[in-house]
C-alpha cells in the first residue's frame, strides 16, 4: 500500500503544499485582520517546511539557515503588522477588512 511506504521527501512537499493552500484560503476568504495575519504566518511556515525538506535531501544546511532567516523576517512582519492593526483600530474601531476602503477608487 502506498500510504504506509517509508516517508520520503515527496510526503513532506505535499504536506507543505497543502499547508500553503490552507494559508492562501485563509488570506483570501477571511475578513478579520488577525486571522488574515495568522494565515500569512501559515504560508511562511509552509515555505519553511519545504526549505527544511530540501536541506535534508541535499544533506546541506543552507536550507535550514534560510528557514531561520525566514523566521526572523516573519517576526518583523508580525510586529509591524500588529502595529498597523492597532493604528487602524484606533482610527475606525473595527478589524473588519471590508471597512477599510478609503483608497478604493
Amino acid at each position: 500500500m502506498d500510504l504506509l511506504m517509508p516517508i520520503g521527501p515527496s510526503h513532506y512537499l505535499v504536506l507543505s503544499a497543502l499547508l500553503f493552500i490552507v494559508g492562501t484560503a485563509g488570506v483570501l476568504s477571511r475578513r478579520n485582520l488577525f486571522v488574515v495575519l495568522m494565515s500569512l504566518e501559515l504560508m511562511l511556515n509552509a515555505v519553511n517546511l519545504t526549505f527544511v525538506t530540501f536541506s535534508r535531501v541535499n544533506g546541506e544546511m543552507t536550507g535550514q539557515v534560510v528557514a531561520l532567516f525566514v523566521v526572523a523576517v516573519a517576526a518583523a512582519e508580525a510586529c509591524v503588522g500588529l502595529a498597523i492593526v492597532v493604528a487602524l483600530f484606533r482610527l475606525k474601531e473595527t478589524v473588519d477588512l471590508d471597512m477599510f476602503k478609503s483608497l478604493k477608487g
Partner: protein, 167 residues
Amino acid sequence: MIETVVFYILAALLLGMGLLVITRTNPMASAVGMIGAFAALAGLYLLQSAPLLAVLQILVYAGGIMVLMIFVIMLLNLRDEDMGSLRAKGVWVTGALLGITSVVFGQVFLVIFPTGQWKNAVLPEGFGSIFSVGEKIFASYLFPFEILSLLLLTAVVGAMVLAKRRL
C-alpha cells in the same frame, strides 16, 4: 515504520490546526490553533533532522509572535459583531483558484520531477545541531545575518512610530 506513523499523526495535527485557524470566528480560537500548528511543525522539523529549527520554532513563534498576537487581540477587546465573517465571494474565488492551481501545478510538478526521484542524503555528523548551523551562518552567511539585524531594528522603530498615539 514508527516514523511513518509519527509523520501521519503530525501531518493530521498540522492540517487540522491550520483549518481551525481559518474557520473559527473568534480570533482567540484561531490563535490557539496556530500554536498547535507550530508545535506540530516543530515535531516535523525534528523528523527532518533540524533540531535547532524545531526549538526556535517553539521559542520564537509560539513564545514570541503568538504571545504578541494574543496580547493585541486581548488589548483591542473586540465585540462579537466586529469579528468579521467569511467572504461569500472570497470562498468561491478561493476554491476555484486553488483547484486550478493544484491541478496545473501538480501536473507540471509530476512531469518535471517524477515520483521517487529524491533520496535523502547520508547526513554528516551533527547535522542541524546548534554548532553546525551557527558555523554555517557565521562562516558563509554573515552579511545577510547582519542585514537581518538592521531589518529587525527598522521593524521595531516602525512599529513604535505606527502604534504610538503621539510621538
